[in-house]
Symmetry: C2
Subunit: 357 residues, 2 copies
């Protein structure tokens, strides 16, 4: 499939065995210098396959530790040091082999090295395959806030090898489903219904079902991004559940929960808030809760995290404008809307209802 | 004057007393949160004037040490820490009060905070007023290379108060003239001739002459940038003299020479190379050397720096593509061109001729 961004179009390749099919993605490298950035979990599984495809080029590899806690300016600094050491030039390409952390971090490093060099992500988690690889958002975390330092930088090509999901822990697969379900919730009732009946087949990694789910999610994201590359309007709908999620992740230091798990709970809370404020029918809220249950996504805040701490952290998120809380809510399954004047008491009630007892 | 960039147009205000005329530039702030970034030299002179104009807004100030050696990722980190501490939101504005270092660094911090917030430079050196404020290039230095980490980010408005030049040391004024002379050399013979007769009046800070020189330089830069925002083609002409200059600055650790002094020598060397390779007439080279002499710009490498070290560092500059040296040369006064296959021996000869004996 093809993604159109205002700065040009780029292909998203989706299918089994793509890491070994260099002839399909090598034409999208910017020049002969390639730095592969990956982590200690992914490297033993897939690095050799990728390196074989690059054998005749000037390549180097940087292997970082695994985890959201390494999505930092310091890690970006390590990438830049390596690029300067090796005298990588303006037409080099950074190839990100790994999940969302590796992709966001490497994309940010590519955006800022010499004011922008080539970026080619090869996402190896369901979350990164459906979400992080389309849209051009790159970033690192600040100790007190997620994704606070970043840039918009479009990839030259996205290589989504569905075979890599075989090695993904089931917990991460379930977390990845959160963003897939999100597209059903915010803009595609038919896709939501398809997921209600087909979720088991995805969890069993049935190949065609998996490919369909990834492609449909990417198409949704690409459509929204093409309409609104710089996140001024409709793109904000993609943040459904994310204001809650970022607060939870900030409170727990990004290490306790997976991003998709936090988003899963965030969507549940945003759904409950929508029902409570009267915009979502209770039957539809029930469908939402049941599908999230089936995906095994959390239905309560982490132990020890209370409603007030969460509420305070939500105010520090970038969805705040002039001190008013801006949230994405649901009118129906498949129909989201943005409101800028959310009653903070209602938000607190919903959070309090999800506290661990 | 107005600068058109592909991402929109913004005004450049040029004239005396503008720092105190908030009514002219305040409409260009993005929202009510403003962080003023300045340095220890400029703050005692102008910070109070600027703060008075912002009295009713939510403002904060970060005062950094003065010098190119502070144009680092660590300084950008200090800006980001302050923004996060103060919970500055996506509609905040970073106001850069100072020379090119403060402008480049603050612009980079603005480009990456929450993936892009408002940026309003108030340049206080001739160099920054004529060059650094137009074009959207922002960056910090890497220990082994100038401007290696950066982004393209357009300002909301540029406020050039010519009164600030009164406090500028004469050495910096002369260094700033290098970029002014550059526009004459690369694209405007008439402007070069005007400078040959009017340079003394600029050095005496005669106001109308100064304003004309700044405006004409900004217009030239704006024209080139409007044609080519992302530096794919003609914009590279603006790098006339800069490949030599960056090598000198890297060798001396950015602290011995001012940027404009390095550019002044770089233009001289590029001019001599042009004459040596037969594209520039010797009479025209003589005019170039005489005007640079009049501006008091250097005609030899710093003591202890030899031709081979320089040549090696030029290969590490980002004007290299596929291992070939790319340089801007002159065909005539007012006419520059880019060549990608420069004879390295000729470059070495020119450098050797400028070694301190």
């Amino acid at each position: 499939m093809e993604v159109k961004a205002s700065s040009g179009a780029y292909p998203v390749l989706i299918g089994p065995g793509l890491l070994n099919r260099g002839e399909l993605w090598r034409p999208h490298l910017a020049g002969r210098q390639v730095l592969v950035v990956t982590n200690e979990t992914v490297a033993p599984l897939y690095l050799e396959s990728v390196r074989e495809q690059l054998a005749d080029l000037e390549t180097d590899v940087l292997i970082l530790p695994d985890g959201e806690q390494y999505k930092t300016l310091e890690s970006a600094g390590q990438i830049w040091d390596k690029l300067v050491d090796r005298r990588f030039e303006r037409d080099c390409t950074l190839l990100a082999l790994g999940g969302g952390v590796i992709g966001d971090l490497t994309g940010f490093a590519a955006a800022c090295y010499q004011r922008g060099v080539g970026f080619l992500p090869m996402p190896t988690t369901l979350l990164a395959q459906t979400d992080a690889s389309v849209g051009g958002k790159t970033a690192v975390n600040h100790p007190r806030g997620k994704n606070l330092i970043g840039a918009f930088h479009q990839p030259r090509c996205v290589v989504t090898d569905t075979d890599t999901l075989v090695s993904l822990p089931e917990r991460e697969l379930r977390a990845g489903l959160a963003e897939v379900i999100k597209y059903g919730l915010i803009r595609d009732e038919a896709f939501f219904a398809w997921l209600e009946s087909g979720l088991d087949r995805i969890l069993e990694l049935e190949a065609p079902t998996l490919s369909t789910a990834i492609e449909r999610s990417c198409r949704h994201k690409a459509e929204v991004v093409a309409q609104d590359e710089r996140e001024q309007g409709v793109r904000a709908l993609l943040n459904f559940g994310h204001t809650f999620a970022h607060a939870i992740e900030t409170a727990t230091g990004y290490s306790e929960w997976l991003h998709g798990e936090a988003v899963g709970l965030g969507m549940r809370l945003a759904g409950r808030l929508s029902a409570q404020t009267g915009t979502l029918a209770s039957a539809q809220l029930k469908r939402l809760e049941e599908l999230l249950d089936k995906a095994g996504l959390p239905d309560a805040l982490p132990p020890g995290l209370d409603a007030d701490t969460c509420l305070k952290l939500m105010g520090g998120d970038k969805k705040v404008r002039n001190g008013m809380l801006r949230l994405v809510l649901l009118r129906d399954i498949g129909e989201a809307w943005i409101t800028s004047d959310v009653d903070l008491k209602a938000v607190r009630d919903v959070l309090a209802g999800a506290q661990c007892s």
